[in-house]
Amino acid sequence: MTKQNDPYDIVITGGRVMDPESGLDAVRNVGITSERIDIITEQPIQGKETIDAAGHVVAPGFIDLHAHGQSPFDIKTKLRDGVTCPLEIEAGAFPVEVFYKEREGKAQANYAVSVGHVWARMAALDGVDPKGLGLYTGAMNACVSDGAQWHEKNTDDPKDMEKILANIEEGLKQGAVGIGVPVGYYNKCTSAELEAVFALAKRYNTFIATHVRYMSNIQPSGIMGILEVIALSFTHDVPLLIQHIHSTSLHRTKEALALVDAAQKRGLNVLAEAYPYDYGSSVIGADYLGEGFQEAMLMDYSDILYIKTGERMTKELLAKYRKEDPGGFMMMHHMKMEDVDAAMQHDGVIVGSDGMGFADVNGKNLEWDDAPETGVAHPRGAGTYAKTLRLVRERNYMPLMTAISKMTYLTARWLEEFVPAMKQLGRLKPGAIADITIFNPDTVTDNAVAEAGKMALPSTGIPCVIVNGTVVVKDSEVLKVYPGRAIKGGNG
């Protein structure tokens, strides 16, 4: 407390400080020195810079383990949604070092990536270099010419398996924070290959984040996909993150949540994630849009929207785009709000956006200063966090502290075992990293909706966001500053 008389770099005064770890929920002043929170006090404090947070909540910066979109435009949009750590954990990257190098010194938010099993397969089986974030480098479409082996081939040949595992190991050594296993997109991967990946995860003391096999109410169901990874997680003692649990479990989401609860009770380290939308988005070539999807997912062609053209699908159009542009993005209305709510509100389920990268209507990547109206993709990439806070206000969705915890502390606490940096994130306490999001609980709202010109509209009611002690969002404007740092896994 000797610093009491020194001016802090930044002080945030008069805000309702909420810390999910300690349960603190009171008006306090927060002093930041350099990149850390220095003090949280009822006493008046002084700073070189002062942020008046009266009437606002001062919360830890939001952590998103499911941010596919990583362009400067995407990150800018995430910051407006209060996210200081938008991490790409589900699909991941390969090579991992490409991802980290690209962002060094140029990141507005903190950044981290898993090594993607899918890209490791692609590099091994197709010989295509995913060049980092394979979702946005055209890698998927580049594989079409050789028959998309990453998607078609299993690893009966042990040499293939060796190559894939070696690629994953390389990614972990380059600092990947976990292994992303979106097996729901390459169903021909055997359970035996998955077992080998789990065994590798154990050797590196890391976790597996997964989009499980199957997206279906009927057999083989999404629940079966969850049981597969739970069996392997149990057997190999590997912590498991089940991403967007409602999106694959659909109308069986409550069953899935009950399974996760029972597994946790039995001592399994398993965490589930959800986003607050009843429609999803991904590549149009996804396995789950194959034959029989109508019955499996209780939706029709017209529930699928091809994002580039805004067309609703017919049988012919879907066949055409799946063939010609399997990596092209779509949105689909495949869930019921009842199931979304069940997942979001469930004790211990964390919030993750699954935000896809925004492009313009022609599919061109957006620049940092392109107008939000030009962004086309699932609105969750812009509004997940503010929407959650709005639901808390409008629908008494859950206690505000619970919502904040699901967006910050619960996530950080789960990750810190493998990602030491996470010990200092997701908390508001002296010594923690000063990632801070300040929002107005009475007005905070998402604005992005699935309508032309509105998909990337930034959230409002979040006037100030601080990353590593630097103000990045001020008066709801994103400043041209780059305080984001690489977060790496324990093997990097």
């Binding site: 055997t190 359970s191 077992e195 009927i218 057999q219 629940i223 149990f234 003692d237 069986r252 597994a263």
Partner: protein, 526 residues
């Protein structure tokens, strides 16, 4: 006269001295056992005893195992033979059929049990067999009969709850395929749970669950009801996994994951029955999965039958051309109709599925090599999957005790699985020591069941003092199966004696008529 008197006295005195000498030298020999088995190579897989011993049986239990001479009211000379624990079979659909029991006994099985398909109602089944069983007997409560009872009110059992036998006579019992295809509502799932629990309360040995026959009909929610109950009662599920396939995504491996994860979560055990029939060419990966899970303390064990073809009903989900072709690498002609022993073609398959889905068929599945490797694996046990036989002349199910062995069609495993396994071990096709082979048919099974709620099993699967006198005497040099695909009911040979609870049931390779020493294997709820 004198001399005669003298001689008598001398003889009498010598007799007394002789008796005293015997008593003094052995201590035990004074006792006369009910039955003694002399000079055999006694094999106890738990203690690894494998030596020449005499075995004395009294009051249905093994009373002595000794190098000394012993006497009994009845004597079996086991010279040149192995004296092993009676074989235990977790997978015998003929458990309650006199003809099926007879075949099992000739194959060395003293405790056949219906654990995979299970029965319902459980008490009806047990009551029926009381006092008239040549073998020990036991059953699980099965999701198949429970589903059919609930979903098809027209169904009436004529086989004391033994659904597979009811299925052989659909006109009388009104069985349907609702048990296979109908998805249960939430309310029905609850009712299924209540019925399963009732079965457990009546002493069922666990829960038989066959999603492999209800690929689309059985949800995980329904499975979970069974799996939670298994955890609650500390018993095992006995599973025919959902998929028979060597190709992802719906491979046999996924079917194992699906069944194993809930048991890891809820407790209780899971037996993956006739695993090679589901995992086919990915069997090595499946075995690794099971090894790894067991290392983590999951109660899971794989059961294998020693054949590269299976026997089932033609309506089985996995025989559907969408699966049997691309996922199992087979064709219509690889399915054989049991009553005619003719291979099917597309037309006959479709006709049977439509008109008589319960028709018995044989079908090729895994390769011999895969089966043999799986049998050699330390975490597998043997199970026959003995399936109802059909009388060749009439097409009726073979139930009567005196059905001629050579007059039936059916999968040969019901007559020969155990002797065949012993032969495969002798021929080194399954390259493991004989005692390990015996263990896979006895101790390993008893131990698993004992660890999963069946206390009686602590006294079975062993040749130890105090153990139940279930004993199989076989000649390791000649024991063999004789049943074939064409002549599926020919009994095994080289197994001259089988003892059930101390009573000789097979003598000089003949099953004794009217001898019913079999006892119920039934859980007592604590």
């Amino acid at each position: 006269m004198k001399s005669i008197k003298f001689t008598t006295m001398v003889i009498a005195a010598m007799t007394v001295i002789g008796l005293l000498m015997v008593a003094m030298t052995t201590g035990v020999a004074a006792e006369t056992y009910d039955l003694v088995i002399l000079n055999g190579r006694v094999m106890d897989p738990e203690t690894k005893l494998d030596a020449m011993r005499n075995v004395g049986v009294k009051d249905g239990k093994i009373a002595v195992i000794t190098k000394e001479r012993i006497k009994g009211k009845e004597t079996i000379n086991a010279k040149g033979h192995v004296v092993a624990p009676g074989f235990i079979d977790m997978h015998d659909h003929n458990t309650a059929a006199p003809f099926g029991q007879k075949l099992a006994l000739r194959d060395g099985v003293t405790t056949p049990m219906e654990l995979e398909a299970g029965v319902y109602p459980v008490d009806t089944w047990y009551s029926y067999l009381e006092g008239k069983s040549q073998t020990n007997y036991g059953a699980t409560v099965g999701t198949i009969p429970v589903r059919e009872t609930l979903l098809n009110p027209a169904y009436k059992t004529k086989a004391y709850g033994d659904f597979l036998y009811d299925m052989q006579k659909p006109k009388h019992t009104h069985t349907s395929m609702k048990w296979s295809t109908q998805i249960a509502t939430d309310k029905q799932i609850e009712q299924i749970g209540t019925m399963l629990e009732k079965g457990l309360k009546q002493g069922a040995l666990g829960i038989g669950h066959c999603p492999g026959y209800m690929v689309s009909g059985s949800t995980q929610k329904e499975s979970n009801i069974a799996q939670k109950l298994a955890g609650k009662y500390g018993v095992s599920t006995f599973v025919h996994g959902r998929f028979s396939s060597q190709k992802p995504p719906t491979s046999g491996l996924l079917g194992i994951d699906e069944m194993m994860a809930p048991q890891a979560i809820y407790g209780g055990g899971v037996v993956i029955q006739h695993m090679t029939a589901q995992t086919l060419s990915v069997t090595p990966q499946a075995l690794k999965l099971i090894d790894d899970a067991r290392d983590k303390g999951v109660q899971v064990i794989a059961e294998i039958y020693p054949y590269n073809f299976g026997g089932t009903i033609v309506g089985a989900d996995y025989l559907h051309p969408d699966n049997y072709g691309p996922m199992m690498g087979r064709d219509y002609k690889d399915i054989i109709e049991v009553s005619t022993m003719k291979p099917l073609d597309k037309a006959r398959y479709e006709e049977l599925v439509k008109t008589a889905p319960g028709t018995s068929v044989l079908f090729y599945n895994a390769t011999e090599e895969t089966v043999h490797q799986a049998l050699a694996h330390p975490n597998t046990v043997l199970g026959s999957d003995s399936y109802p036989y059909t009388i060749r002349k009439t097409g009726e199910p073979a139930i009567a005790w005196d059905t001629p062995y050579d007059g039936v069609n059916g999968h040969p495993r019901g007559a020969g699985a155990h002797a065949r396994f012993l032969r495969l071990v002798r021929e080194k096709k399954v390259d493991i020591p004989l005692v390990d082979g015996v263990s896979k048919m006895t101790y390993l099974i008893a131990k698993y069941l004992q660890d999963n709620g069946v206390d009686q099993m602590a006294h079975k699967g062993r040749i130890q003092v105090g153990a139940d006198a279930d004993i199989t005497v076989f000649d390791p040099k000649t024991v063999k199966d004789n049943s074939t695909m064409k002549d599926g009911g020919l009994p095994s040979t080289g197994i001259p004696y089988v003892v059930v609870n101390g009573t000789v049931v097979v003598k000089d390779s003949k099953v004794l008529k009217g001898v019913y020493p079999g006892q119920a294997i039934r859980r007592v709820n604590k």
